[in-house]
């Protein structure tokens, strides 16, 4: 048996949770790209948790005006005329300063937990709503199914970002409404996904056995069927963390932000678009951070899908 052949290793390792874990670890070692995804996403979560310790949260207040949009990191020469060099400031700003004179590096570190928190809240709530309504639609069928599906149709008939714009305009600009607006555009996908999973799962013999034993519908659905069909939903959830960060930062980038001072990646980039040709760092680095984080979660999601989707194991 060659250890490098996943199929054979899979066969040799047998089945069950431990074997799955073993196979997952094997995939990680074999596939450096997935490993990179795990590293990036774990690192960004750690950075988010530690960020109040690394950077004093009060540093997002406005700084002296003579530090606005300056760059004094000697490692990069932007080759732009009239780059302001921070007026002889002793401190070096590794990624320059923003239009409020704050260190961009500090702002990015403070922004990561804000974006990640919104993303996790949106995805977790969408999974819960999706499992509840999707499970109900798939299991009950008939009129319940039809009503739930038509409601999702309504939400899927407009691009999420448009609905989010209207919702934020109506509900007001704050972080909770931003979260709710993105959630409202996101949950229908999970309802559809969960429904299709439950539709195929409920025809299996064990469901009939449970029914014969006299188990109630709710217990069969949420106790057994959901447990057995939730993996694809969780994989999608991992992939979606990156997409939600993209959507949230896009919304704050176009100006639907709670406060212009809030350190949030899209918000920082929004300041940058005005100074794109005089202070390009202000849009480059926040955007790059978004790219890296969402790339990390996408790679992680791809890796998890490889582990859980047997069809892809070749």
């Amino acid at each position: 048996m060659k250890a490098s052949e996943p199929e054979e290793l899979r066969a040799g390792a047998g089945y069950g949770r431990r074997a799955d874990l073993k196979y997952a670890l094997h995939l990680l070692r074999r596939n450096p790209i997935v490993l990179a995804g795990v590293t990036i996403s774990v690192a960004s979560v750690l950075l988010a948790l530690l960020s109040p310790l690394i950077v004093n949260p009060t540093s997002w207040n406005q700084q002296p005006l003579n530090l606005r949009l300056c760059w004094n990191n000697p490692l990069i020469n932007w080759q732009i005329a009239n780059v302001f060099n921070c007026g002889g400031s002793v401190a070096v700003y590794p990624l320059g300063t923003d239009s409020y004179g704050r260190s961009l590096l500090q702002m990015i570190i403070l922004a990561i937990p804000v974006d990640l928190e919104v993303a996790f809240e949106v995805v977790a709530s969408a999974v819960v709503l999706g499992v509840f309504f999707g499970g109900l639609a798939g299991y009950k069928g008939g009129i319940v199914d039809e009503v739930i599906l038509r409601v999702t149709d309504v939400f899927l008939a407009i691009p999420g970002i448009l609905l989010a714009i209207v919702l934020i305009v109506v509900l007001g600009r704050s972080l909770p409404t931003l979260t709710i607006a993105v959630l409202i555009t996101w949950w229908p996908y999970y309802v559809r996904l969960m429904r299709s999973q439950v539709l195929s799962e409920k025809e299996k013999p064990y469901v009939e056995r449970l029914r014969a034993m006299g188990a109630g519908g709710i217990r069969i659905l949420y106790g057994h069927i959901v447990q057995n069909s939730i993996y694809p939903v969780l994989v999608q959830a991992t992939l979606d963390i990156g997409s939600v960060i993209l959507t949230v930062s896009a919304l704050t980038f176009i100006g639907l932000t709670p406060s212009p001072l809030l350190p949030e990646l899209g918000n920082l980039a929004n300041q940058g678009i005005q100074y794109i040709f005089t202070a390009p760092w202000l849009i480059l680095f926040p955007g790059l951070t978004i790219l890296i984080i969402s790339l990390g979660f996408n790679l992680l999601g791809d890796g998890i899908r490889d582990v859980f989707d047997p069809r892809l194991r070749r």
């Binding site: 149709d153 008939a157 970002i161 448009l162 305009v169 100006g255 390009p280 790219l291």
Partner: protein
């Protein structure tokens, strides 16, 4: 079920989806916002209260028994017309194409919401169509090459592009392109594009140096008008101005399409009829493009409905980054001044486009794949 029965059933359902959406949008913009929001485009601070009240009555927001404007503003009982009555009047007007006034300026001056919207809409349509075009001519070949060169260099490159497309913030990609072409890719000491945008009144951005003659607005789409009025400098300028925004808009969907084409192509290439075609001695190109592609392209057709939604949504961001004069850009201005007439029209027009495209896609899919039965 026959095809026309299926289409009729879908059209019937479509009406209900659009009606439900209009109720949702109406409730959001008129039910949750104070009723005075609806008056914003019609009243000025100089008007006295009785004039404001008569405007509110004319718009069907205030009742005739309402004693004063201040009573209306403070939502006194019996002063605001019930929401469902308002909805009836609004729907009647909306279906007649009467969408009221807007606070936003249009491209060609007139001030009804309908005119402002449709004077800007061709720009968004141009951007979205160009984005779809780029998605198809880049995304599909990328997916094919990726599948036929599985696990070789072209596959790795294509998968990287696809993953990057999923992960890249569109606004950032657009900004990076601008920074590169304006600041760093140098021709004669300056960037390829000019940083001090000299916007002439008669063309979008005049790259060719020649200010072209007045262009007739046949369709409102600059590229098309340039051709129709045989004004090639204008056409050239519009085409150059379109490249970077369209690429920015397409980057995400290129990734999505190439990924789908890749997986379906790999599935198809494993099937027996492909082996048969190869064993007949057909050239590899014929096998791939004549035999395999036809079946492999089907899943890509099904997501093209989703693609339209993607492009119309992404257009908002791209229009901001590139200061594109389309409806997405205007919708942000509308959001700032709470111009609800414009937002309602925008959401509903977009929804109609998406719902109709989805139906068309399903019909086309059935035509392409005879195995599909309704």
């Amino acid at each position: 079920m026959r095809l026309y029965e299926y289409v009729a059933r879908r059209l019937f359902l479509m009406i209900f989806v659009l009606l439900a959406l209009s109720v949702l949008i109406f409730y959001l913009t008129r039910g949750l916002l104070p009723p005075t929001t609806a008056l914003a485009a019609y009243i000025t601070p100089r008007m006295d209260d009785s004039a404001k009240l008569s405007v509110a009555r004319a718009l069907g927001v205030a009742t005739t028994s309402c004693p004063s404007y201040s009573a209306f503003v403070s939502l006194q009982g019996g002063c605001v017309v019930p929401l469902w009555v308002q909805y009836g009047g609004w729907l009647e007007n909306a279906l007649a194409g009467n969408w009221g006034l807007t606070l936003l300026p249009g491209i060609s001056g007139t001030d009804t919401t309908w005119h402002v919207f449709f004077s800007r809409f061709p720009y968004t349509a141009e951007l979205a169509i160009a984005g779809a075009f780029l998605t198809i001519i880049i995304g599909i070949p990328l997916g094919i090459v990726s599948a036929t060169h599985n696990n070789k260099l072209p596959d790795h490159i294509s998968r990287m592009v696809s993953l990057g497309g999923y992960s890249i913030p569109q606004f950032w990609f657009g900004a990076v392109l601008q920074i590169l072409f304006v600041l760093y890719i140098r021709v004669n000491g300056s960037g390829l594009l000019s940083a001090n945008s000299t916007v002439a009144t008669r063309c979008v951005i005049c790259f060719s140096g020649v200010v072209p003659a007045e262009v007739a607005r046949y369709s409102g789409i600059p590229l098309l008008d340039g051709i129709l009025s045989l004004n090639f400098p204008y056409f050239w300028d519009s085409a150059v101005a379109l490249i970077l925004p369209a690429l920015t808009l397409a980057i995400t969907s290129i990734g999505a399409i190439s990924r789908i084409v890749r997986s379906s192509m790999m599935e198809v290439l494993r099937q027996d009829y492909i082996t048969l075609a190869r064993s007949k001695g057909l050239k590899e190109n014929v096998v791939i493009y004549r035999h395999a592609l036809r079946n492999a392209i089907l899943p890509a057709v099904t997501v093209s409905g989703l693609l339209v939604a993607y492009l119309l949504g992404g257009a908002v961001i791209v229009e901001i980054v590139f200061s594109w004069p389309g409806v997405g850009n205007a919708s942000l201005a509308a959001a700032d001044v709470l111009d609800i007439n414009f937002l309602e029209l925008y959401v509903l027009v977009t929804a109609v486009i998406i719902v109709v495209t989805n139906l068309a896609v399903d019909v086309i899919y059935a035509k392409l794949d005879p195995r599909i039965r309704y």
